[in-house]
């Protein structure tokens, strides 16, 4: 089933040129999709259009069968599409972790008992239970973003969008966030859209969509995208490091197959050595 269908989407901010110009994209239920593209390519705009924070100038967006252009659908859509934003400091409303996580559930008016059980679930799922009583300002970036994810989970959305949520984190924080999201996708069957320009993060996605010049230029499994060097350079992206190494070795005449991770690359090199 398609949970998101976008057809011929156009968008421009007031007094400036078009950001999106005829974008098409479909997202299937349970899919782990990465959207990549350079800064200011309209990636974040796309996320905001999907849950009605922005209004398209033209085109169709359907989220879970609801028209995302109609104001009466916003509430229902936002209950089902959670967004984790870029700056961990700008999305927390409360000083204490627990108080922040319950903000969403409080907004949708569910019972106190239900909030309690969702709170526990969300904190445990994101590994933030141990600091539920801590001050948010004392947490690390990765911990803050996991709290932000918990705040979204507590609303129980079907779709989770990460809008460059890892771009302000250090490598450890990035790994923490990615691990949580992968688990949600695998175990809770949550549909995940991650908007990023860290190529290392997209290797394990089901599909990668490349956004360039206001349209999705290509949607394909990560390996195929990594192979498409022209597209990557056109879109201001580059191959992940292990892929660069793989490429370079091939160009130096080493007969090594493409690898999807650095661990696989290692295996391939060892096998090549053993063959000889």
């Amino acid at each position: 089933m398609n949970v998101i269908e976008i057809k011929d989407l156009h968008f421009s901010y007031k007094d400036s040129g078009p950001v999106l110009s005829g974008l098409n994209l479909t997202v299937k239920e349970g899919e782990f999709l990465a959207v990549i593209g350079k800064n200011a390519s309209g990636k974040s705009t796309l996320a905001r259009l999907i849950n009605g924070l922005l209004e398209p100038t033209q085109g169709e967006i359907t989220v879970l069968g609801l028209d995302a252009k109609k104001q009466e659908n916003f509430y229902e859509i936002r209950k089902n599409v959670g967004i984790v934003f870029q700056n961990p400091d700008n999305q927390m409303v409360a000083s204490i972790v627990e108080d922040d996580v319950v903000f969403g559930p409080e907004n949708i008016g569910i019972s106190r008992e239900e909030i309690k059980s969702r709170l526990d679930f969300a904190l445990k799922e994101t590994g933030t239970y141990e600091f539920k009583d801590s001050m948010a300002s004392r947490l690390s970036g990765g911990q803050k973003q996991r709290v932000a994810i918990a705040g979204i989970l507590a609303i129980k959305p079907k779709i989770l969008i990460l809008d460059e949520s890892t771009s302000m984190l250090d490598p450890r924080g990035r790994a923490e966030v990615i691990d949580v999201v992968k688990k949600l996708n695998r175990e809770e069957k949550m549909t995940v859209i991650t908007i990023t320009h860290y190529m290392d993060e997209v290797t394990e996605c089901d599909k990668v969509a490349v956004l360039n010049n206001g349209v999705i230029e290509r949607v394909a499994p990560p390996m195929e995208i990594f192979r498409d060097k022209d597209l990557l350079s056109r879109a201001g992206m580059e191959q992940p490091v292990f892929m660069k190494i793989c490429d370079k070795l091939q160009s130096l005449g080493v007969d090594i197959p493409d690898s999807a991770t650095k661990e696989q690359l290692l295996q391939n090199i060892i096998e090549l050595k053993n063959k000889q």
Partner: protein, 274 residues
């Protein structure tokens, strides 16, 4: 660091005082303030002091943190002390010193000055204990309950409370940011300490403009994040943390009322007996 300088910041430990209902604590603070003003002599202050001591011990907040609260106002305390010592006049006072600068200082004015300074100090200690033992969110919840009657006049109390809690939440973030911008401009040779007042005010622009820009950007992003989390000012919200009156609050209330009675007792009878 700058962010630690904020007056009376929350001291996150677990204690019976921390677990008391914030609304009760606010009410108790009001009673406390009343008794500090009601006390007419040092015996009354002794009772208040004992009350304060017991509460601080029960709250597990170190004395140092409580004491820090007067750092921000020691100037005012010193000022009232000096004013009183020089200008307080009473019948039958014995002049202690009357030389050079120390003119007309009497035993009564000295005692009165100490009394007033002590009163101020006790007030500060008590109020800081409230902010040290209640998180900003608890406080706003308490204030929200306190202001609830205003909803009759169509004042959106819960939105006001939310605004307060967000403001509190952003204090440490903006403090950190201010520090960073100041450092960045210092690294570009900015000098905030030289020149007259106009020059200094002008020197602050390179800090204020980026700070304001950033605050606006943060506000915009926060607005989006709140919308995305289904916030709406019109729909009915659940309140997760309900204020509940527990045995702790009862003990607190009884203890406070007992102290208040002691103070009144000191005022009216004790002095007569001694």
């Amino acid at each position: 660091m700058l962010k630690d300088a904020v007056f009376g910041q929350y001291y996150p430990v677990k204690s019976p005082v921390h677990r008391m209902d914030s609304f009760t604590k606010i009410v108790l603070l009001i009673i406390y303030i009343v008794m500090v003003f009601v006390a007419k002599n040092f015996w009354g202050f002794l009772a208040v002091g004992v009350f304060l001591l017991v509460t601080i011990l029960a709250s597990k907040v170190p004395f140092k943190s409580v004491a820090r609260s007067i750092k921000a106002v020691y100037f005012i305390i010193a000022f009232t002390f000096i004013i009183n010592i020089f200008f307080h006049k009473e019948e039958g006072a014995k002049v202690l010193w009357d030389v050079w600068l120390l003119r007309n200082i009497t035993d009564k004015s000295l005692i009165y000055a100490v009394f007033m300074a002590l009163r101020f100090t006790l007030l500060m200690f008590g109020s800081s204990l409230l902010t040290l033992t209640s998180s900003p969110v608890e406080l706003t919840n308490g204030i929200e309950v306190l202001l609830k009657p205003l909803t009759i006049f169509k004042i959106p109390v819960h939105i006001l409370a939310l605004m307060m809690s967000i403001a509190l939440r952003f204090i440490p973030t903006l403090m950190e940011e201010t520090e960073r911008i100041i450092n960045a401009q210092k690294a570009r040779g900015a000098d905030f300490e030289s020149g007259n007042i106009f020059k200094r005010a002008k020197a602050l622009l390179p800090v204020l403009i980026p700070l304001l820009t950033s605050a606006l950007r943060r506000a915009e992003e926060l607005g989006d994040a709140m919308d995305a989390r289904c916030f709406s000012s019109t729909t009915k919200r659940t309140k997760f943390k309900k204020l509940t009156f527990s045995w702790r609050d009862l003990i607190g209330l009884l203890f406070t009322l007992a102290t208040l009675s002691a103070v009144i007792l000191c005022n009216n009878f004790l002095v007569a007996i001694i």
